[in-house]
Amino acid sequence: MPEKCLGLVAGGEASNGGWMRGVVGLSEEGICISKPGGATSRAVAQRLRHPAAQPDSTSTSSALYDKSSSTKMKGLFKSKPRTPVDIVRQTRDLLSFAARSSESRESKREEKMAELFKNLRELKSILYGNSESEPVSEACAQLTQEFFRENTLRLLITCLPKLNLEARKDATQVVANLQRQQVNSRLIASDYLEANLDLLDILIAGYENTDMALHYGAMLRECIRHQTVARYVLESQHMKKFFDYIQLPKFDIAADAAATFKELLTRHKSTVAEFLSKNYDWFFEEYNSKLLESSNYITRRQAIKLLGDILLDRSNAAVMTRYLFAAKQNKPPDIVSILVANKSKLLRLFADFKTNKEDEQFEADKAQVVREIAALELRDRP
């Protein structure tokens, strides 16, 4: 990818490479919707939209691209410009090769791996753009479609340990980005994962592998943006493992697991509420004993914060009521003291709840909860 930067003058017009020329006129949509970090800039969107809106101006517009494209054609693509689809296909072939070839038996292995790394970097460059150019929605869509047409994601995930560090990072960023790419306003990554949920098992188990944890963890966090995927993880046996993962001794890995854990328990409200009510007993038992009573200061602090976020979410009102009841009946001193310590915050947040007049049940729950909190306060006083 760095080569792509060569020859580009700072401030020169953005260019993503040769294939872009054929693409400019096509991109009526103009905006590539699901980019992490925001979509295509307005400036570029305008540049892209312009030719479509005003056919007459296409020639001037492509002339503008011609300038940079032609310089790039020489250096980057040499004789055969490849489309995003070509790159995905070649990547898939190389991954298949990597998956079956055992260490260095085959003579061309090293060469092919280098080729694979180069392809991954190119995929990343198409999806994200680079320091000199913006991504193009049509190219992203083509790439995404081809990527999920076959088992590229599975190959990439299973081959990840065979890649070098740079390629792993590129692959991770590619996978992350693809989760947000829409093709014909569908998140096809979600469809793919739904049919391949076992991939999540691999990603989660990554937390047990020091070398893979941060890569798989980053992929995992992107995948659970899809509600069905999040539901699968929540309801899987893996959920229990997170209580240990977030207390792993290596801080970077533990913190990554904690971020995923939080995402799982806060992102998809209805799914979370359903999960918590179904799995109430074991979940809060683990939560209280392993996290809230952890000897690790950060774990405790994060756990309290997250507990507040979970319980105070409107969709979890029933869970909160139950939790507070349990806290009252069982009187585990730590939980009570945590609640008491956070009482003012709880009350304040609670008072901020938007009350839906039609929701009588919620009002009742809320009243109940406030009563519980008030009771905590009374008992707390000597």
Binding site: A10, I31, K35, S41, V44, K250, L347, A367, R371
Partner: protein
Amino acid sequence: MKPLMAYEQEGHHHHPKVQFPLDSDSYKIVDEIGIGVSAIVYKAECIPLNSTTVAIKSIDLDQFKVDFDNIRRETKIMTLFSHPNILNAHCSFTVGRRLWVVMPFMSGGSLQSIISSSFPDGLSEQCIAIVLKETLNALSYLHNQGHLHRDIKAGNILMDSNGSVKLADFGVSASVYESSSGYGSGSSTSSSPMMLTDMTGTPYWMAPEVIHSHTGYSFKADIWSFGITALELAHGRPPLSHLPPSKSLIMKITKRFRFSDYEDSINKGKSKKFSKAFKDMVASCLDQDPSKRPSTDKLLRHPFFKSSKGSDFLVKHVLHGLPSVEERFRVSKILRKNDVDDDDEDDVEGESGSELVKQRRISGWNFNEDGFELDPVFPTESRDDSVVKQVRFGGETIILEKGTSESSLNLNSPEAESSLVSSTTTPPCEEQQTENTFNAETMVGGLMALKKSLDDQRQKVSELINLFGGEVMNKEDQMAQLIEKLRMELETERQKNFELEMELEFLKFQISGASNTDEND
């Protein structure tokens, strides 16, 4: 591209990484070498690994009120980024309420520390070229990974005993791929990718578009800071650092930057000559228009870096005779204490002993003479509002008695926590003897003498501190400030509490109403 590939091939596979232990008992703290608002940096030994020397950045987690996302990102970067010019972390783990990040020990310390202790008038152009080229390699790698460093400055560039140079401190770095606006909000069509909007960094080094951040900024903001760092290395301090780092002022300053004009004054240069290539390189980085600044890859091809020498040159011309990092830090601490005793203390100081960027007074070197002129503000005008600190070795001070009475030993910590602070801390000076240009040899001599009689000096220093009650007074002041702060907080809390009680009353009222209804039912 080429160097990138070269080390990529080496990869991580071939030589398995040494596993550093994840418990504090395995490390023996040797010395304090840096201090910041929320972190202390130690020199330490890793006992189970043959007492390998390491640097440990100990971060106070209580300073991070909301969440640990920033710290998580920083440690992740230090784990996953692999480049000969980027400082990696060996490991990180929690120790009570602190996070320990164990890193390689860079014995030369930061370039800021080096120049302020031994090269107050800046490094030679040859040395600058080496340092900047290495830094640029790191920056190129970062940018190609989609990362902005956002705090490029001499204080974050470290040197090892072999002259190798590494970029450090990713506390405020950011990925354009996962900027917070995009993350969590699904699709966002409002802002461009590759653009960030939050203002972060250290004022003097900040690009205009970062300060006026409404339009967003990207990789080219690092290029600006890189240009400022070039000036810092050339002059011994960043441009305009005699002005307080307030945002409003910086806004004015950046507008007044006229780098296009700087050629006019080239011929006026007397004291220090810079090559045309150097000036051209710096000027290109400091273009007001970000899009006109070169990319890292383009900069690397600039003639200025063509014939740059190897790291041996730095060993010979920079590191040779340099006091050790811990020694420099110790001296700087003493100097700070003494300085606090000065009557006309400026209030810029205070809690932000943090950054420890303390420069010589501007008049010590001629900003206007060398063609790198940025602004017509003259140092002598800025006596009162100056944030540049001249540490005096006056009669009160017994350290470095001979010959160096006016020399400033303003030291920075090597891996100092610059990312977590935003302002430099440099009280003003007085009695500046403008004629006295800094003499590096005298300084080194003085420092070597200091080193030799370390024990003796230590005792004197303790006496000195007692004598001036430096520590005590300092603490009292700090306590007073703290008390005031706490009082304010208490007041706010009281207010909140009152409001909450009101709320509670109201809710209780509602509840009793509700339960009455229940009973009636």
